[in-house]
């Protein structure tokens, strides 16, 4: 389908907004926009990070999901207690595909679900005693853990338990970091506040107390940390090898396949590398201010952006690293050119609509473009202004931007724009597949990945082709409803 003009896109937004009652229409209108590359600031065209309207179907999660699910749970050598009733942790368990190395249940605990399993009596009489008991049990059963975090679910804030006091006491008793996080789900408007709270808890309960630890650490001028890569399907690994090949030393991964000692060492790096800006920018800015560590955002989706990012990172180091970056780009050239030669002809000109979390709606655009595809609509679940600032330049003019899109809006936009591929989450997946649209689950890579780095790009290209050109999409319509059969029927009845 041909690209819409600015007027047509605006008309489309108005048409979709029409069904809402007046108040809701006014509010939602602020979250839908036509991209204008000439704008410097997104607040001129789109509002974000606001409470969702009651009555609409939002795709967002809660603060607990942001802190536990996103930031903390991939830290593999710590035990993360979902503090409260059992459901929040159990239903969120294992869905994220944050890969790690270790023996689960012995020295790594990512795939497991620890919860205080609140019952009525814990709500009535408080759960602090239970929490203290759990920590002792954990120490006994899993002695190789390096620390514990307490991730508060909604009831903890409501009944006013003092988890900080329990944490401090347990910290003295077991001699390991115990981190209380006040990330009750009702706080804030989305998982985004959970990221912030998790960042603050790392600052107060991990980095500050660790200042005098690890004094025997021997640094090099090339020490860096990967921040905001959750190793979905192995993403952080396929990123890390590129950085190491160019001569840098990655001493910490936050938090995919990450460990507590790595986090404690991070203030000793020379440069922080940020992949997901949204979920770690707070702690990065803190480290910049307190320890004087500069930071840079990078994007490892697709060869164009990878090369740009490698060069930008190298520019902050000496000639050895700069040469290293060129060497890496040259080394993988044949590989990624072959990927493009194979898949581009099959994907050229195809259109994509995205709706993901806080980074991929803009970061994957370059990878699609490398394959000759066009992103015609994009939006975030929980982005803020500064994310949209960074999106405007990446998206084409007059394309559609939708913040915290509602189920209804997304379906209507898709019906009108008829994209060749949709990338979003699992809640959207089956709706769109049933509507006959090829769909990729872009949170956990649809059980595939990694997508970062040159190795990841090959998998990305294969997956997009496999989904988009799958013959099943031709079979979606019932045979008697296809044009051909109607024609022959008409002919037969004549």
């Amino acid at each position: 389908m041909a690209a819409l003009t600015r007027e047509e896109t605006e008309a489309l937004i108005q048409e979709v907004l029409e069904v809402y009652p007046e108040q809701a229409r006014k509010d939602r209108a602020k979250h839908l926009a036509v991209n204008d590359q000439s704008l410097e600031k997104s607040n001129k065209c789109i509002t974000s990070n606001r409470k969702s309207q009651p009555g609409v179907m939002t795709i967002r999660g809660c603060a607990y999901a942001g802190s536990f699910g996103v930031v903390w749970s991939p830290v593999k050598d710590m035990i993360h207690i979902s503090h409260g009733p059992v459901g929040c942790g159990q239903y969120a368990r294992g869905g994220r595909r944050s890969y790690y190395i270790g023996i689960t249940g012995v020295n790594a605990f990512v795939g497991m679900d620890f919860t205080s399993d609140f019952q009525e009596k814990d709500i009535v009489f408080g759960g602090d005693k239970k929490l203290a008991k759990i920590m002792n049990e954990i120490e006994e059963l899993f002695p190789l853990n390096k620390g514990i975090t307490v991730q508060s679910e909604c009831p903890i804030g409501l009944i006013g338990d003092d988890i900080e006091a329990v944490a401090k006491k347990a910290n003295k008793e077991i001699g390991k970091p115990v981190v209380p996080v006040r990330c009750e789900g009702f706080r804030g408007v989305s998982q985004s506040l959970g990221h912030h709270l998790a960042n603050d808890s790392i600052r107060d309960w991990v980095l500050d107390p660790a200042e005098n630890k690890h004094n025997d650490f021997v640094g090099t001028p090339y020490d860096v940390a990967i921040l905001g890569d959750y190793n979905i399907g192995g993403d952080a690994w396929s990123s890390r090898i590129l950085l190491e090949e160019m001569g840098l030393r990655v001493i910490a991964q936050w938090s995919g396949d990450g460990t507590l000692p790595e986090m404690e060492l991070t203030p000793k790096v020379k440069l922080n590398l940020l992949h997901c800006y949204r979920s770690v920018n707070y702690i990065t800015r803190h480290m910049e201010e307190k320890y004087g560590i500069p930071w840079i955002e990078y994007n490892f989706f697709g060869p164009t952006k990878i090369a740009e990012s490698l060069r930008a990172i190298a520019a902050l180091f000496d000639d050895k690293i700069k040469e290293g970056a060129e060497r890496v780009i040259a080394r993988y050239k044949a590989e990624y050119e072959a990927v493009i030669a194979k898949y581009r002809p099959r994907l050229e000109g195809k259109t994509v609509m995205l709706f993901v979390g806080g980074l991929r709606p803009r970061h994957t655009i370059g990878a699609y473009e490398d394959l000759g595809m066009k992103v015609i609509g994009t939006g975030y679940e929980f982005a803020h202004n500064d994310d949209y600032d960074r999106t405007i330049k990446e998206m084409g003019n007059a394309t559609l931007l939708y913040d915290d899109v509602t189920g209804y809006e997304f379906e209507e936009f898709v019906k009108k724009l008829q994209p060749d591929l949709i990338g979003s989450g699992v809640k959207e997946k089956y709706i769109f597949q049933k509507m006959g649209f090829p769909f990729r689950q872009m949170h956990s890579w649809d059980y595939s990945g990694p997508y970062h780095g040159y190795d990841g790009f090959a998998i990305f290209a294969r997956d997009m082709d496999m989904t988009l050109n799958n013959p099943c999409w031709k079979q979606i319509k019932a045979p008697w409803k296809t044009e051909e059969s109607t024609n022959t029927e008409v002919a037969a009845s004549a």
Partner: protein, 74 residues
């Protein structure tokens, strides 16, 4: 009185960041910006204006300081 995180960008310009508002903006001008006096009115590129209590020396950037908002720029 918002808390503002200030840093210098690679071009040496002052970058303003207010976490609560996701405001990330370059400063166009700083009223006092010499080695023995820093602060006063700061004009951002989006037209808004903030005031910092002048101090006797350049702060060590990056740093977080309190500012008074004078003009939203709208």
């Amino acid at each position: 009185m918002p808390r503002v995180m200030l840093k210098k960008n690679p071009e040496g310009k002052l970058v303003f960041y207010i976490a609560k508002k996701d405001l990330e903006e370059v400063a166009e001008s700083v009223e006092f910006d010499s080695s023995d006096k820093w602060g006063g009115e700061v004009l951002l590129s989006d037209g808004s204006k903030y005031y910092f209590e002048p101090m006797d020396e350049q702060p060590d950037f990056p740093v977080t300081l309190r500012a008074i908002r004078l003009d939203s720029g709208d």
